[in-house]
Symmetry: C2
Subunit: 211 residues, 2 copies
């Protein structure tokens, strides 16, 4: 059955991006430290067309992350290109062939025509709210999952609205001290840990959100 999921790397003190986020450094100072564990895996390198990397528990986790995703939803800041009306020259951070390969719905206040990239990624810009984006994602995802890709505010909105089924945290043993918090303004949802995977680098905990 299709689930609405979010998987995200988070610091031990609760941040998903470091302080002083900017257009040039959208994950903030030190934010890259949250993702280092991914870059070191064989499965990630394979997806990037590179050899090498570690055949670790983390590599297995990364391999499974995107297996069953039928559509993505992301916030405007994650798509990038700055605030306000669109500069249509901006087509995201990911080049001609973004790593999604399925429809991606971008939450925005500014209308823009859909953008078909190479490899099956189609960015659709949704101006009428998170529920509309979810409906559109469901329509294309079939029995596959819908992944709320980020950033923090998009995840918070879906969690607060009771629309998230699973939150999969990769708890990185790094203390950023400041930055963008994931679990703020989300109300008091009931969570149950359903899967815990330990590695020397990260603790992966998947929570089911109980309705």
């Amino acid at each position: 059955m299709s689930s609405v999921m979010c998987q995200i790397s988070i610091s031990l003190d609760g941040f998903v991006a470091g302080p002083n986020q900017s257009l040039e450094n959208p994950i903030g100072e030190g934010g890259l430290r949250l993702h280092q564990w991914v870059f070191e895996t064989a499965s990630w390198r394979e997806q990037q067309g590179e050899a090498g990397g570690a055949l670790s528990v983390d590599s297995d986790v990364v391999r499974d992350l995107f297996k069953n995703v039928g559509a993505y939803i992301m916030g405007r800041k994650m798509f990038g290109g700055g605030d306000g009306p669109w500069d249509e020259a901006w087509t995201g951070w990911w080049g001609e062939d973004p790593p999604y390969h399925v429809p991606v719905f971008v939450l925005t206040h500014y209308p823009r025509k859909p953008l078909a990239m190479q490899g099956g990624t189609i960015f659709t810009f949704v101006t009428d709210g998170i529920e509309s984006a979810l409906e559109q994602a469901r329509a294309v995802a079939g029995d596959k999952d819908i992944e709320i890709a980020g950033g923090a505010q998009a995840v918070q909105q879906y969690l607060r609205a009771g629309l998230l089924d699973e939150l999969y945290l990769h708890i990185v043993p790094v203390i950023l001290g400041d930055g963008e918090r994931l679990l703020a303004n989300v109300g008091d949802p009931t969570l149950e840990p359903v899967t815990v995977i330990a590695s020397p680098a990260v603790t992966h905990v998947k929570y089911r959100i109980v309705r």
Copy 2:
């Protein structure tokens, strides 16, 4: 070998006490939700002289927590009795026979004579700082561990000073939204997850702090 440890229950959003802490409610609103998993275990109930409780993974965790502790260190707020010079009628929250059964060093700015309770707990009041308290704890603990019992500020001080060897977090799937944060003002220590124990109620992660 003797380690300096801290084991503590923490909400998924990083709080070890709820908002609006007071003399009457020292763990704050909702703070008790962080400890519910302990109260349900057979080993906790046994320690309280009660029957019943669950013979769960969590029960095993609780049983092991205090096995090898030779001395405790706690902040003044955790010992209780309010601010300022001591009211010597206050002998802690725990009655005549506190659950420590070894020496406990209380960090305070106000001198007070040591207080011997039933069952081997002796409270010693340390006015000359965290390093002095640690030296005194080491002197009595022998090859057993020293546990920084809390609260958050005491833990933060030892972590920031590079004096903590292990941080054992019981990550409770509860979102408190506000309260007392554990991992604030602690600098940027290097942590390695060394033990991860999963249960349906809590995720227990023990971190070694690398020097």
